[in-house]
Symmetry: C2
Subunit: 247 residues, 2 copies
């Protein structure tokens, strides 16, 4: 094992199911001897990536809160997007969840979320990677990727059942300018996604709404599509005029 991987391996042991680890457990799980594990953990603690918890165990440390805050504070996409999500759910006038997502190397990641009263409970929230090829949020992102980049992103995915179907679907989405998915991830939910593409800022992302099928008659759906699409392009434009140096 070498370089960063050594540390990354340890950090990735921590999960929802198992958020605290003793050094002995980490040593076993990572296949390293105790003394090495102690040394590695010590370094991670010194840098704030791990933190001693009770009973000689460790949990993830404060460094992640700090870096996360830094991202929240410095990313114009996030700053503008977070404000926008509030407006969007206020104007939706049906129970729904608004998500801001973005392509990070090879995954579509949710970077902000906002819900109004009665919104569908969802596991999608800031910091969750989205399924790459399912749901409006992701598809609308894939649809607006240059061919070369798309191919690279899809490499990481398990070979697709029908690559051509997806390609055609993405072409259709690009043409229409938005994507609607029905019960594609969660049953009885509709996802409406619109692209946010700002090459100048190196950003390809999406803004999407998740609502209940039962709340959407045809007129409402049309209204929400319009809301989503116009909000997304509003955000894209505002990023163009934002004084960059930044992400």
């Amino acid at each position: 094992m070498s370089g960063l991987d050594r540390y990354s391996l340890i950090l990735h042991l921590f999960s929802e199911a198992r958020p605290v680890w003793s050094v002995t457990e980490m040593a076993e799980a990572s296949g390293a001897p105790q003394s090495t594990a102690y040394r590695t953990v010590h370094e991670l603690v010194r840098q704030g990536f791990l933190e001693p918890a009770a009973d000689a165990r460790y949990r993830l440390g404060a460094a992640f809160l700090e870096f996360d805050r830094l991202i929240r504070k410095t990313d114009p996409y996030l700053a503008a997007g977070t404000l926008l999500l509030n407006d969007v759910i206020a104007q939706a006038r049906v129970p729904c969840l608004a998500l801001l997502a973005r392509l990070y190397t090879d995954r579509v990641m949710c970077v902000a979320d906002c819900a109004n009263a009665g919104a569908p409970v969802s596991s999608y929230e800031r910091g969750r990677p989205m399924p790459l090829t399912r749901g409006a949020t992701s598809k609308v992102v894939l649809a607006h990727l240059p061919a070369r980049r798309l191919a690279k992103v899809l490499e990481t995915e398990a070979p697709l059942a029908d690559d051509m179907t997806l390609k055609a679907e993405l072409r259709a989405i690009r043409k229409r300018g938005f994507c609607i998915s029905r019960s594609e991830i969660d049953k009885d939910r509709v996802g409406i996604g619109a692209p946010i593409v700002v090459p100048e800022a190196g950003i390809v992302g999406s803004l999407s709404l998740v609502a209940f099928v039962k709340d959407l008659d045809e007129a409402t759906e049309r209204r929400l599509v319009l809301l989503t699409v116009s909000s997304a392009s509003l955000l894209a434009e505002s990023l163009l005029t934002t004084p960059q140096p930044t992400s």
Copy 2:
């Protein structure tokens, strides 16, 4: 340079003032040659700690969002505390900001924040380290630290003007069970802090309110102190009864 420090050094170049860096800039700033810098950045990108941005520059990556989410999801202190903060500001009935903080090794860090309408604008928010020896939030934490741990924490601080004064103050706070600070960090603000101490979970933290001096007559202040103290002990108790294995 060795081990984690090499990576940590690069990551800590990223700041509010300068959130994107080219490899050449990182090389210069860290004193490493280009080829080394490229290698290091490559590793950080591979693990998601950095992310290519426009113009051959880099920004902080998605890994921080993911680990931050993991912490939010798995830390019972945070989970219970975040809910509680909502109740607290609702019951405050004056414009104010509620903060949940915790001692992380050698810093008091804000881990959750919640504001009601008209609340003081503050730079304190999730992910911000608090000044160690000023303000109710921090003092109330220090006051409830075992002597040995306190000494260790204060080591990192620049030598204090008057160590004895602080010690006496902390003794007084411990006796009273809460701390009020007036215009100690921001002018015309009052901070009210109450300790949250759960040795079984390895947690020493605080719950605090920040309000405007002008909004607080004597009765209101007494009410808010009571609210803060009782909410804090409620949280401490709920953590005792929570099924641990966790932080």
